[in-house]
C-alpha cells in the first residue's frame, strides 16, 4: 500500500506542477461551460445539468487519454522504467498508483464544475436526483476512460501514439450505440451493451442501475488488468 501511495503521490505532484495538466483542465472547463450554458438562453430553459453531462462524455474521450498518455510511455522513453521495475515493487502497485493519480486529477477537475450546480441552485430550483446520479455516472465513465488510456500508455514509449490509440478505442466504444441502432436482434443487444454511452444515459436520467455500475467497474478492471499483464509480459520467458 505504501508503494501505491508513493507512486500515486509522485504522479499527483507532477500533475499539479506541470503546465500540461492545467491546460488540459482549463480546456475541459471551457468546453464544459459551453455545454452547460448552450441551452440556457433558449425560451423556457430547464434547470438541468444534462447538457453538461452529455457534453462531458464527449470531452472525456479527449481528456482521459491526455491525462494518462504520459504515465507509462514517458517512463519507457526516459528509461526510468528500468529503475522502477528493478525496485522491489510489484507491477500492479505501479499501475494502480499511477491510475489513482490520474483519477484524482480527473475528479478534481470534475469537482470544479460543481459551481454549475451552485448557479442552478441560486437561480432556479433544480431536481437534485439526476444531478448527483449524473456526477456518479460521469465519475465511473471517466474512471473507465482512464483505464483504457493506461493500457495504451503501457504499450508504447510514444505519448502521442498512446493518446491517439486510446482516443480511437474510446470513440469506437462511444459510437457503438449508434452502430447498434442500425442493427437488430442479438447483435444489437451485444453491441449496444458494449457501448460506453448507453450505460451513462440512465445516470443522466436520475436512475442508478447496478447493471450500469457493474459495467463501468468491469470495464475499468479489465483494462487495468490488461495493463498489468502487459507490464508483466516483460518478465515472461
Amino acid at each position: 500500500m505504501r508503494t501505491v501511495h508513493a507512486v500515486a503521490w509522485k504522479e499527483i505532484q507532477i500533475y499539479f506542477s506541470s503546465p500540461t495538466a492545467y491546460i488540459v483542465g482549463m480546456i475541459f472547463l471551457a468546453l464544459a461551460s459551453f455545454f452547460f450554458v448552450r441551452d440556457l438562453g433558449a425560451p423556457f430553459p430547464e434547470a438541468t445539468m444534462s447538457n453538461f453531462f452529455q457534453g462531458a462524455t464527449i470531452i472525456f474521450i479527449l481528456l482521459a487519454p491526455a491525462l494518462t498518455m504520459r504515465l507509462l510511455a514517458e517512463e519507457q522513453k526516459l528509461g526510468t522504467i528500468e529503475l522502477l521495475l528493478t525496485s522491489p515493487v510489484r507491477d500492479w502497485e505501479v499501475v494502480v498508483g499511477k491510475y489513482l493519480a490520474s483519477l484524482v486529477f480527473l475528479l478534481a477537475t470534475l469537482a470544479l464544475t460543481l459551481y454549475f450546480v451552485l448557479l442552478l441552485i441560486i437561480f432556479a430550483d433544480p431536481d437534485p436526483g439526476p444531478i448527483w446520479s449524473g456526477y456518479l455516472g460521469l465519475a465511473l465513465y471517466g474512471a473507465a476512460s482512464l483505464a483504457i488510456g493506461m493500457l495504451t500508455s503501457t504499450l508504447t514509449s510514444n505519448q502521442i501514439v498512446a493518446a491517439v490509440v486510446a482516443m480511437g478505442i474510446l470513440l469506437v466504444l462511444y459510437l457503438a450505440d449508434f452502430a447498434a441502432g442500425t442493427l437488430s436482434g442479438l447483435p444489437q443487444t451485444i453491441i449496444g451493451e458494449i457501448g460506453l454511452k448507453s450505460h451513462f444515459d440512465d445516470f443522466d436520467r436520475g436512475v442508478i442501475d447496478t447493471k450500469n455500475i457493474i459495467y463501468y467497474v468491469l470495464l475499468t478492471a479489465f483494462f487495468l488488468f490488461m495493463t498489468i499483464r502487459v507490464l508483466e509480459s516483460r518478465r515472461w520467458r
Binding site: L78, T80, E82, P88, V89
Partner: protein, 319 residues
C-alpha cells in the same frame, strides 16, 4: 574456485539471452564473491548491459540460472531486487523532480523505513557531494551531477550488491577519478559488479576481471595477470577428464608451459595453460593428456582472440 563456495554472493550458470534470433549472451557462467569488485570488460555490444539487466531482475534470461545470496532472480525476484542497487548505463532519472524528492521516492520504492530514508538521503548526498543541489530539479543538472544522483539512488538502500553499468561514461575526467574512488570505497563493504570498455579503469578498480566478447566469457583473471597476458603469452583452455593433481603436474611438465591453473565448474575440470608468446602447445598438451589415458574433452586457444579483443578495448585514457 569451487561452485559450492558459500562465500559466493552471485552465482551465474549458463546464462543465455536471445533478442529474436540473435544471442546477446550465450552460456555465460561466473561467480562473484561477497565483498568482491568484479569488472566486466568488453567492447561495445559484447553483452555487458544484457547481463546486468538480467542480474538486476529487469528481464529474465532466455536460459540459465542466476542466484543472488541463494535467491533465484526469477523465482524470488522481489527478494533479489531488495538487495540490489543498480545504475543503468543511460542514468535514467525523473527530470521534473528535485534531487531530494527523487531520492525519497526511490527510498520508498525500495521499502526503506521512513526514518532510515531521511538519514540515508543525508548520507548519500554527502558521499556523492550533492549538498548544494538537493533542491535542484534533476533536469537542470549537468551530466556529471546526474551520474552522482544515479549513484546516490543505487546506494541509498545500502544494497548488498551494487550493479553499475559503465559508471564513468560521458563524465569529465576529474569526476571520473572521483567516481572511481567512490566505487572503491563502496567495494569495501559491498559486492560490486561493474562494466566498462576501458581497460585501465577496470585494472584500477577491480579485484577480478571477466572479459566478455560477442556474448561469451573469453577470459577471467586478476587485472595484473591480464596485463601479463597482454604483454604476450599464449593461453589454452583445456578440459580434461582425470585426477586433478596428476593432470596438473603432467601439464606443468609439458615443455614450454609457464603456468597451469585449475578450476572446476559444474563438475567439469578446466585447466588454464599459459605459455610464452608464439608457442603453439596444442599438440604437446593433447599428447600429454592422451598418453596418460585421460580423456581430452575440450581445448581452445584463448590467447589469440584475447589480443584481438584487447585491440578493440579502450586501452589508454587521455586525462
Amino acid at each position: 574456485m569451487e561452485q559450492t563456495d558459500t562465500d559466493n554472493m552471485i552465482e551465474v550458470r549458463d546464462l543465455t539471452h536471445y533478442y529474436g534470433p540473435y544471442a546477446a549472451i550465450e552460456d555465460v557462467s561466473f561467480d562473484v564473491q561477497k565483498g568482491e569488485i568484479l569488472g566486466f570488460l568488453g567492447p561495445n555490444g559484447a553483452g555487458k548491459t544484457t547481463t546486468m539487466r538480467i542480474l538486476t531482475g529487469f528481464m529474465p534470461p532466455t536460459r540459465g540460472q542466476v542466484s543472488l545470496d541463494g535467491n533465484d532472480i526469477v523465482e524470488q525476484s522481489l527478494e533479489v531486487r531488495k538487495r540490489v542497487g543498480y545504475l543503468p548505463e543511460t542514468v535514467p532519472l525523473y527530470t521534473d523532480m528535485t534531487v531530494s524528492n527523487y531520492l525519497r521516492y526511490m527510498g520508498t520504492l525500495r521499502k526503506m523505513p521512513r526514518r532510515n530514508i531521511k538519514r540515508r538521503i543525508g548520507e548519500v548526498i554527502d558521499v556523492c557531494r550533492l549538498g548544494d543541489y538537493r533542491n535542484t530539479l534533476i533536469g537542470k543538472l549537468s551530466k556529471g551531477f546526474r551520474q552522482r544522483v544515479g549513484i546516490a539512488q543505487a546506494i541509498l538502500h545500502e544494497p548488498e550488491v551494487l550493479v553499475l553499468d559503465e559508471p564513468t561514461i560521458g563524465i569529465d575526467p576529474i569526476q571520473v577519478v572521483e567516481t572511481r574512488r567512490l566505487i572503491q570505497e563502496l567495494g569495501e563493504a559491498q559486492t560490486v559488479v561493474l562494466s566498462s570498455h576501458i581497460l585501465p579503469e577496470v585494472s584500477m578498480i577491480c579485484e577480478r576481471v571477466l572479459i566478455i566478447h560477442e556474448g561469451r566469457i573469453v577470459a577471467e583473471d586478476t587485472p595484473s595477470n591480464l596485463a601479463e597476458r597482454l604483454q604476450g603469452t599464449e593461453h589454452l583452455e583445456v578440459e580434461v577428464g582425470g585426477p586433478v593433481p596428476q593432470v596438473l603436474s603432467a601439464l606443468r611438465q609439458v615443455p614450454g608451459v609457464t603456468s597451469v591453473s585449475h578450476r572446476s565448474f559444474q563438475g567439469r575440470n578446466l585447466y588454464s595453460v599459459q605459455a610464452k608468446q608464439g608457442e603453439d602447445l596444442r599438440d604437446e598438451v593433447s599428447r600429454a593428456v592422451i598418453s596418460n589415458e585421460w580423456s581430452l574433452l575440450g581445448m581452445q586457444s584463448v590467447g589469440m582472440s584475447l589480443e584481438e579483443i584487447f585491440l578493440r578495448l579502450t586501452t589508454h585514457e587521455e586525462l
